[in-house]
């Protein structure tokens, strides 16, 4: 797909182009939003808000970079703002200062499907969930995460380590239960 042309058409205000841009990225971006929120409705709210921002600021897109990455970045920022603004997440989105964090060298094989893995991540407390998403999935460094969330780098590391440990525990448990289920029902 010629993204540059698509963006130019969107900037001209062509409804078909706008629809095409939305449909091309909406599913992937809802996956992104889904990982940061606790419900599908919230994820759709973020998606909606994010796409409104995208169309409103499309003129700022420089054709040098990749359109998908630009859109993804906007979605992530929108999700973070949503979490900060939404009172339901504010209590859970706390980042207690802690220099000690569990060190886990476990690297279990992830056999789950993407949706199930995302569900597990969404079971994490909002703070853990956010930091885990930003570091493990989006690839932000802890320094960047600290700046984005207004926390220390150490706090981000600590949160991430706890989230990782928790997730690995759940993954192992899920893996055992799956094996048992497989054994019982051959």
């Amino acid at each position: 797909m010629d993204y540059n042309r698509l963006v130019k058409d969107c900037l001209k205000g062509l409804p078909e182009a706008q629809r095409q841009l939305y449909e091309h990225f909406a599913e992937g971006m809802l996956g992104v939003c889904y990982r940061y929120t606790k419900s599908v409705a919230d994820a759709e709210d973020v998606l909606q808000e994010g796409f409104i921002k995208i169309f409103r600021n499309l003129h700022q897109f420089k054709f040098e970079g990749e359109l998908g990455a630009w859109i993804r970045r906007i979605m992530v920022n929108t999700a973070l703002n949503y979490l900060k603004k939404n009172s339901r997440y504010q209590t859970d989105l706390s980042f207690p200062e802690s220099s000690l964090h569990p060190v886990s060298d476990d690297n279990p094989e992830v056999t789950l499907q993407a949706k199930d893995l995302a569900e597990l991540i969404r079971q994490l407390p909002a703070g853990y969930q956010t930091v885990f998403n930003l570091h493990a999935v989006e690839g932000f460094s802890h320094v960047e995460i600290g700046k984005m969330l207004g926390i220390n780098e150490g706090t981000s590391r600590s949160q991430y380590a706890r989230a990782r440990a928790l997730l690995i525990t759940w993954l192992k448990k899920t893996s055992v239960e799956t094996k048992k289920e497989t054994y019982v029902r051959p």
Binding site: G13, P15, Q18, R19, Y22, E23, A26, E27, G28, L30, G31, Y34, R35, V40, A41, D42, A43, E44, D45, L47, Q48, F51, I52, F55, R56, N86, R88, D105, D106, N107, P108, E109, V110, L112, Q113, A114, K115, L117, A118, I121, H135, A136, V137, G139, R164, I168
Partner: protein, 582 residues
Amino acid sequence: MSDHEFEKQVHQKLQELKLRPSDTVWMEVEKNIRQDQHRRPFLWWWMAALFICVTAGGYILYRYTAQTPITTNTQTTVASLSNIKSAETSSNSTNQSSQSSTLQPVTDKTAAASQNNNQHSIAPNGEQKQPTVEGPDATAETTNPHTVAENKQPAVASADNSALTKTTIKRNKKPVQQPLANNIGGHTNPHEPVIVSKLPYEKQRSNKKKRMVEAMAITTPVYQEKVPVIEVAQPNENAWNSTMPIRVNMLDSAIATNKAVIMPFKTMAPEMMPSGPVVALSGSSIIRKKASLWHWGVVADAGYSRITESKLFQLKGLLGNEKFIAEDLSARSSASPSTSPSNGTNSFSGTNNQLVSWQAYAAPPKKASPIQADVAFSVGLFVQRTLSPRLKLSLGLEYSSISVHTQVGQKVNSPNNPIVVNMGTSQAALVSEYYKYPGTDTAQTISSAAYYQGMTTSSQKYTYRFHYLEIPLMASWQINKGRGLPPFQLEAGVSMARLLSVDALHYEGLKGVYYKDNDLFNKTQFNFVTGLSVGLLQQSKHPLWVGPNLRYALNGLVDKEVSTGQYIWSAGVSVKMLLGKL
């Protein structure tokens, strides 16, 4: 498996995650895009229309002021006196007319009563008139008297207080299902079933709004049952809002103001009460930080200033190079130049600055040099109160420096040989230090010979400087939401300025001299201030407002006893920065 294998797997897996959003998401996005697309041209049209209106208004004002004959020094004494007389006569007639038009007290009791009833919304039988509600609910409310009686407000004035009071109390003690959004739009009756039709924007899937509505629906009955009720008997039974015992919830006692008494059951959702305290409904207190409505900041203006002549609201020279000449304070004087040029000495013989007939100079009154624009600036602080999302009121304290310049001639300092200058209609003063008319270099220049021979060699620039301490009171109205475009706001207000110091000259046309007399300047100036500004850096901690502004003095620069009117005004660019909350 490496340390990052887990992260890689997670990353890879989650990149594949795709979920299909519901159709409503695109509908809302599309709706928003279309709104933006429609709003932009409309805004530009609106701005263009505003610009045209302002330009046309300015042009008309300019044309009007330009056609007005400029006061010259050829006015005769007779004319001046006759003008004064006519002015006096007109002022007398004005007084008479104003006396005759004094409003008489209203004697028609019926009219007064009906007016009173209208104001208080009380029907003749003591029942409260329900507020008019548009839409299908309105008919039901207004045509069903039973409903009206049932839904009696606790704070309604009534003729038969005691009976109705008891009835009302009994009815109110029943646990009442508080209707949703009962107070939206000023509807204050807690018992009146209000059917709130969903507005389009409410149908949008916004979780915030959902939560609000759910919270209200769930918690309101609990609120009514659990909260103890206090009956407050009002001592003055005839007064409005005080004839009935008023039920005040304990919850409302936290905001026990007059407003709370009038609307005892006002239960706005927390989201709808930005400045009010939020009350916990189920034991756990929701602490919401009260947003401060007060801000403070700094303001600075810079531009140019001019002095108009003899006319209020002349904006000649706002955009062009038109110039005003300095006012001749002797223009209305009863003294007139003599036709005899022989006597070159002053013949001032009056006492207490009383004018005597002037015989010294045969030359006709000279036209003063033009007064040209110069730099004006002001700096100061202000406090701002947000009255509504778009309306703000601010009060400031500023130092203002206003200057203009003109051309004067050689400076003369002759304590032993002062000259007499006329001012106003019947005043004169001796001055020993003065500046001659520009282009003249000898003492003879004030004689007719020199005037006509045109011995012009000397001229210098003299800058008039006025320093004021100013207190502006401004109202600003944000004209757009500032979503697509940055926010624009119109400002208007008045300011009171106190003259701190001045370095300026007055002009005497009979002799063609400029002299200093600071006592002639009005010490207090009242200004009209207006402007249009655009908001920048609105998301930052220190939002900025930048735009053109105009300040125009409403009272004369010089004492009206000696001046027909000089008005100082300035135009420039104003920068206002909010620095913090109070």
